[in-house]
């Protein structure tokens, strides 16, 4: 089910909020959250509910075991159990085909017969699995590190993983941040912020339907025709996709945060104007914060972070970003994308204290970062190495300046959106509380008009990760 669908906005959401309001504080409210979150997640494949419930149940009990275990070895053992389970789930559904297709030739060599990798073709990736397994792993590790006490209420833990606004595509919430708020919500102690919540939802709807989906149409048309070879169209393709993925994901986050605010729950901000970043390191402090901080806290720091010398730091960065790339999908292009970002962040780490970097004006830094990030998006969007090469060559003018495929209106739209992205403040900067009354009315009006005029809506890109 999609957040921006009329069915969700005008049927399921009001029902959820009214039920939550009417239910007495305590277990009833917990049950309401559980029911609506699972109903929402059931989508058109109710079988996935079983998987989510099973995963939540095992994680709940293993976390209790971690806490109860008397010895460090026991604690570690239970942690390994839960990590293996979560990574195993992710590996089976997301990377099964890739792993099996790589292992098959090796197995053939030693006379073993593995199942046909095509077996995985029929298996649909459960939505949000990358998000809820990461959230669950973070919880288990935090319990292991004694950063948090394990949740004693089964229903509360299930709701922590399945809380409707953030279930499908994050933000990947830490237990320490979300659980206390959910406890308050269940006990009637939160204060809903209707104004800010509705503003964020309206902004998300507009960003998704008016900006991201329209950028997507331009990008898909260029990709579909394979006409992204000229200088203009190759950059239009890269920037078009960069804007599409940013506004698509930012829109989802706006709606998720907005939904949270309607219940008085404050979810983590995921984006802080990433395209305004003056360097690549700063970009990753602003892009998909909940994921980048997850990798920082649970992978980069345990690897040693920057405490073990420059060489080891660069290695740690590279490894972290490679795995971050792999998190996005089982494809070499995602690994390459992660590798590119790891390399760029590594190089920046090595030269960041030099005079040269210090002398680079901000505007130049932003431009370089923007171009580098968008070269990366080409790897992210295209899975075919030949096509990637065509776009990259097109970006340096290999096939001429312009092939006339991009209409003036479409090109102008992309330029306008990019200018807006770079010059206008982020929503959370512009409206730290809620928008002013006229801005709010304008947002609502535009969102409603958009909903009434968009014939078909597209899924969020991050649903597939």
């Amino acid at each position: 089910m999609l957040f921006q669908s009329t069915g969700f906005l005008f049927i399921l959401l009001p029902l959820f909020l009214v039920s939550l309001r009417l239910a007495p504080a305590g277990i009833s409210r917990n049950l309401v959250i559980f029911f609506f979150s699972y109903l929402f997640y059931s989508g058109n494949e109710p079988i996935f509910l079983v998987l989510l419930l099973l995963s939540s149940t095992v994680d709940f009990f293993t976390a209790l075991q971690i806490d109860r275990a008397g010895t460090p070895l026991g604690r570690r053992g239970w942690l390994i159990v839960t990590l293996c389970l979560n990574l195993g789930l992710l590996g089976f559904f997301k990377y099964g085909m890739m792993i099996l297709s790589k292992l098959t030739p090796l197995a053939d060599g030693i006379g073993l017969t593995l199942p046909d990798p095509d077996f995985f073709k029929a298996i649909v990736l459960p939505p949000g699995i990358s998000f809820y397994t990461f959230q669950s792993m973070a919880y288990s590790i935090d319990v292991y590190r004694r950063h948090v006490q394990p949740e004693r209420s089964y229903l509360s833990f299930i709701n922590y993983l399945a809380y409707l606004p953030q279930l499908i595509a994050g933000p990947i919430e830490r237990y320490s941040h979300l659980s206390s708020q959910l406890h308050d919500l269940v006990n009637g102690k939160t204060i809903p912020n209707w104004s800010a919540g509705l503003d964020r939802i309206a902004l998300g709807v507009i960003q998704k339907l008016l900006i991201a989906d329209n950028c997507g149409l331009i990008v898909n048309a260029l990709a579909g025709q394979g006409k992204f070879d000229s200088f203009v169209t190759s950059w239009a393709f890269a920037f078009g996709f960069g804007l599409q993925i940013y506004f698509d994901f930012a829109a989802y986050t706006h709606i998720a945060i907005g939904l949270g605010l309607l219940m008085g729950v404050n979810l983590t901000e995921n984006f802080l104007s990433p395209y305004k970043a003056p360097n690549i390191q700063e970009f990753w402090r602003r892009w998909h914060l909940s994921l980048s901080t997850w990798f920082k806290d649970y992978l980069y720091f345990p690897l040693g972070g920057n405490r073990k010398g420059r060489f080891r730091t660069v290695f740690n960065l590279l490894l972290t970003f490679l795995l971050c790339g792999l998190w996005h999908g089982a494809g070499w292009n995602f690994i390459l994308w992660g590798g590119l970002h790891g390399t760029m962040v590594g190089i920046y780490y090595l030269i960041r204290d030099s005079n040269l970097v210090a002398r680079i004006p901000q505007v130049v830094g932003v431009t370089i970062t923007l171009c580098a990030v968008h070269i990366g998006w080409v790897l992210f969007r295209l899975h075919d190495s030949e096509k990637i090469l065509v776009v990259l060559k097109g970006m340096v003018g290999w096939y001429g300046l312009n092939n006339g495929v991009l209409s003036i209106i479409d090109g102008g739209f992309l330029v306008l959106v990019m200018m807006g992205t770079l010059l206008l403040p982020n929503a959370s900067e512009r409206w730290p509380g809620s928008a002013g009354w006229w801005e709010s009315t304008l947002l609502m009006g535009l969102a409603l008009a958009t909903l009434c005029n968009i014939p078909n809506i597209a899924q969020f890109i991050y649903f597939q990760f």
Binding site: T6, F10, L39, I218, S407, M444
Partner: protein, 511 residues
């Protein structure tokens, strides 16, 4: 940047809140006003009762959006029998099977039959089921069901979900659907969307609402955009008809159908059970696929296909008639792609249907087979208006214009030769036009398949005779067209004969 709770809740300005509330109320009032005025107007404009119901297909989407509870058709006249024709793009792309069917019946039994074509591209078993449920309210006497292996399965689901959801909830349908069907076709988002559509005309007719302002705006912007469409204004119609993740080369597998072959067949079983409860007889068929034209990288799972055939035969065993066309229909009469019939192919499909009707016993006073054969063969020379119109509208701007047409048809051949003459024989455009045609020309010249012989329904030998005549004519005319082309265009014969396999592949790689 951290945003604290205090930030979020700190700016509680009473005056601001009042103004915000006022803004919200104004918006709500405006929405209600538009719903009552514009929504009513949209509904009135878009409700299209079928008043000249001879046999043309109609826009089912509008029927499904109509919540009046009335049949979209006028009452059935006395002595007329209605046939619900239900298929996928087999019917809507290429040669128009249902139109041929109607024309043939009009010749052999004028005014006796009405064909209601509710076919839709990319149809899946569940949407067939929902469409078939219309049978009772339309007073249908027979359902003709033509489906293909996988039918390109679920890939169109998103584009069609509105009409699917609408139909689940029509009176008489909701309660009669079996639980298994609900489980297989469960979609909470779709159901919720339906509820909104039920109450809001603005939501229900949003496509139509958009066309109100889109067309004038596009016309106004044309001087700036030229012939290149602007994606941000014009709705990408193609998107409604394309796979969500692009065209999948492995089209003949079940990977995108949620419950695979078993789900598809279970839905089919439910459909037949419901029609049987309604006491409506069914003629079913498995449509032929030309696997020689299969898209690249696709691996036909032979075992799966034969199991599918076997299951279909079993499921349809209780129906009036069932034909597995893969065995008894010449797949050569498909267009450049493996499924859609050409004009000749569609005519043959329709002829087979007429013969089936006559043979089934359902058509009590059917003419004898030889009379039917003569009538069906005569149909070739009559050129209906819709075909003439289609020929006039052939898109000659690219090489795809003729790829769905038979160059063995005199009208198509002369149309194409005229275009080539106009373009200049040596122009790249002429070459492109020819190239797509040559694809099928080469295909036939290289390997004209003989008419299938193991067809169980021979209709007293009439069907093989019809096929034989068509084959002979086809091959003769192809040779004639080729000679004419070589002579008039001075096309080197090597173009027609050199490496036909690679030419074939070329076009299939780049449809």
């Amino acid at each position: 940047m951290e945003i604290s709770l205090a930030d979020r809740f700190g700016r509680r300005d009473r005056a601001q809140e009042r103004l915000r509330l006022a803004g919200g109320l104004i918006l709500l009032a405006l929405l209600i006003l538009l719903e009552v005025t514009l929504g009513n107007w949209l509904e009135r404009e878009n409700r299209r009762p079928i008043d000249s119901m001879t046999v043309e297909s109609f826009d089912l989407e509008h029927v499904l959006k109509d919540h009046s509870g009335q049949s979209p058709l006028p009452p059935k006249p006395a002595g007329v029998r209605r046939i619900l024709y239900l298929s996928n793009s087999h019917a809507t792309t290429g040669g128009y099977v249902s139109k041929h069917f109607r024309r043939m019946l009009d010749v052999v039994a004028p005014g006796r039959f009405q064909i209601i074509d509710v076919s839709t591209p990319g149809v899946v078993a569940s949407s067939i089921l929902q469409r078939a449920m219309l049978a009772k309210e339309m007073e249908v006497d027979l359902v003709v069901l033509q489906v293909a292996y996988i039918s390109f399965s679920d890939r169109f689901k998103l584009a069609q979900q509105d009409s699917l959801a609408e139909h689940f909830f029509r009176p008489g349908i909701f309660e009669s659907l079996p639980w298994g069907f609900w489980w297989r076709n469960y979609d909470i988002g779709m159901f919720a969307d339906h509820l909104v559509h039920r109450f809001s005309r603005l939501a229900r007719y949003r496509n139509e609402l958009r066309t109100l302002w889109e067309a004038p705006l596009i016309a106004w912007l044309k001087p700036f955009t030229g012939s290149t469409p602007s994606r941000i204004i014009e709705v990408d119609k193609q998107r409604l008809m394309t796979m969500p993740l692009g065209f999948d080369p492995t089209i003949f597998d079940w990977s995108l159908y949620p419950l695979g072959r078993n789900g598809h067949l279970a839905d089919m079983r439910d459909l037949l059970a419901i029609l049987s409860r309604m006491d409506i007889p069914v003629i079913g068929s498995n449509l032929p696929i030309d696997f020689a034209k299969q898209y690249t990288n696709a691996r036909l799972n032979v075992e799966d296909f034969s199991r599918y055939q076997e299951e279909m035969r079993r499921i349809f065993s209780s129906t009036l008639r069932y034909s597995d066309y893969q065995k008894c229909f010449p797949v050569d009469f498909t267009t450049y792609d493996p499924l859609h019939p050409t004009w000749t192919g569609a005519r043959l499909h329709a002829a087979h249907l007429v013969l089936l009707l006559a043979e089934s016993g359902w058509w009590k006073d059917a003419p004898d087979m030889n009379h039917l054969k003569q009538a069906l063969l005569m149909q070739e020379s009559a050129v209906p208006d819709f075909y003439r119109q289609a020929l006039e509208n052939i898109d000659t701007s690219n090489g795809r214009g003729y790829r769905r047409y038979d160059v063995t048809d005199a009208h198509v051949a002369s149309h194409l030769l005229g275009q080539l003459e106009k373009e200049g024989w040596n122009s790249p455009r002429a070459y492109r036009l020819l190239d797509q045609t040559l694809l099928r020309l080469n295909f036939w010249i290289r390997e004209p398949a003989p008419p299938p012989k193991d067809c169980p329904a021979h209709f007293q030998g009439v069907w093989p005779e019809i096929l034989h005549e068509e084959f002979v004519k086809h091959v003769e005319r192809l040779a004639y067209f080729r000679a004419r082309l070589e002579k008039m265009a001075k096309v080197p014969s090597t173009i027609l004969s050199a490496n036909p396999k690679s030419r074939l592949d070329w076009s299939i790689h780049r449809p």
